[in-house]
């Protein structure tokens, strides 16, 4: 397989950031109240991820190793600020719906995780395709979770009434508990189908709940844990 296509396949299927790597859980849970919010968040994150991967990959020989994390954070925070201003200007309704979770893209584990695990070791085009793959994977996952919650919780899909109004929707699914509920069931289904995922690392704190140190990818955490 072409190595660029392989990157996309890797991001969408093999190492799907949400379902397999279990990265970026906060936005996944928070904005998946409707499919359209999931798409909006997914695309915003994808834009930041592709650009940050490209910039970090391009600067990988210039940024000294000791200060790479602060440097990455500045790059990512700048990109997020630009994205936030663009969304506020051109998509005010999405800006309202996503609210504080747009600036919080800065601390999304996926972005710093990919920078550490991939972009700072690979060429610019490969890093760009890695960003595209991971971004699409994240967007699809958010959309799926959002669609499930919207269907069960409001009886609609992308805002259109799908389930007849006579059927009472289960409102709890679009409220906060529904997020935990749907994610729990999705992971249980993955487990039942024997699809290998890192959900156990997420709850067993084998890398101290990685998000906290999320500058490192799960893979790097594992290496460090072995040391």
């Amino acid at each position: 397989m072409n190595k660029y296509v392989e990157r996309i396949y890797n991001g969408v299927v093999k190492e799907n950031p949400t379902f397999i790597l279990m990265l970026g859980m906060c936005p996944t849970l928070a904005v998946s109240t409707a499919a359209i919010n999931g798409i909006g968040m997914g695309i915003s994150t994808t834009a930041v991820l592709i650009l940050s991967n490209v910039i970090i990959s391009a600067l990988r020989k210039i940024i000294p190793d000791e200060v790479r994390l602060p440097a990455y954070i500045v790059i990512v925070a700048t990109l997020v600020t630009i994205t936030e201003l663009l969304i506020e200007a051109y998509l005010p309704s999405l800006y309202e719906a996503l609210g504080i979770y747009i600036p919080l893209i800065v601390v999304n584990c996926i972005i710093l995780g990919r920078a550490e695990a991939y972009a700072n070791k690979n060429t610019v085009p490969l890093a760009a395709f890695d960003g595209i793959g991971m971004g699409i994977g994240f967007t699809l996952a958010l959309t799926v979770v959002g669609l499930l919650r919207e269907l069960i919780g409001a009886g609609t899909a992308f805002g259109f009434q799908v389930i007849p109004k006579s059927v009472e929707p289960i409102g709890i699914f679009i409220k906060a508990p529904g997020a935990f509920l749907v994610l729990a069931i999705v992971i249980a289904v993955l487990n039942a189908l024997h699809i290998e995922n890192r959900s156990n690392e997420l709850v067993n704190g084998s890398c101290d709940g990685c998000c906290a140190k999320c500058a490192k990818s799960k893979a790097n955490c594992k290496e460090e844990g072995a040391k």
Binding site: M22, M25, C26, P27, L29, A30, P70, I73, V74, A77, T78, V80, T81, E84, L85, G99, I100, P103, L104, V106, V107, C109, L112, I172, K175, A176, P177, G178, A179, F180, L181, L183, A184, I185, I187, A188, V189, N191, A192, S199, N200, L202, V203, N204, G205, D208, G209, C210, C211, A212, K213, C214, A215
Partner: protein, 192 residues
């Protein structure tokens, strides 16, 4: 005074940072396997979040706002929080080894905990003044501590139960969080 108590109740219970706003999920589910670790992390979060809210509020009111640099807040806050945690860590190490020993290993964990940045940004969005920001930070951290300690207690019980195989590990923890979240929705009835 009354409004400050209301801010604490609202931040700690009604809009619980983990169960309602989904900030700090990773450390919430990652560290909650042990009660002692959860309580220590909670203590560290209370400490850092209160200081971080104070510093972020001062910076916003006296630097960013007067100079019209409002749009720089995300960049400034994340860098200041990262630096602040380092300073707090060094300060504690020097001055109070006791506290450092109890909280030390959890301090670096908090740097990129999205709850810290989330609270700083929420305070700005809600136009809280300095005192209100400090109380909001403190209340949010108390809410985080309540949630993680409760989940640690539940997980201690879960470990001894017979869970269906696909639900072992993450799913049952998330289900517990869902039930806790439903319980916390009850606080929404408090008319604040």
């Amino acid at each position: 005074m009354n409004s400050l108590i209301l801010i604490i109740v609202s931040c700690a219970l009604i809009n619980n940072v983990v169960l309602n706003q989904f900030l700090g999920i990773c450390s919430f589910v990652g560290v909650s396997q042990q009660m002692k670790a959860s309580a220590s992390l909670g203590g560290a979060v209370i400490f850092v979040l209160t200081i971080a809210s104070a510093v972020a509020s001062l910076l916003y009111d006296f630097v960013l706002k007067p100079f019209g640099l409002d749009y720089m807040k995300t960049i400034v806050f994340i860098l200041v929080i990262a630096a602040l945690v380092q300073i707090v860590e060094m300060f504690l190490k020097k001055t109070s080894p006791g506290i450092y020993k109890a909280l030390g290993i959890y301090l670096p964990l908090i740097t990129t905990n999205c709850a810290v940045l989330g609270v700083a940004l929420t305070n700005v969005k809600d136009e809280y003044n300095f005192i209100e920001s400090v109380f909001a930070g403190f209340g949010t951290a108390v809410g985080y501590t309540i949630a993680i300690v409760l989940l640690a207690g539940i997980r201690a019980r879960i470990n001894e139960s017979d869970i269906p195989k696909p639900f072992r590990g993450a799913p049952v923890v998330l289900l517990s969080a869902a039930l806790m979240s439903i319980a916390f929705m009850g606080f929404g009835g408090l008319s604040v």
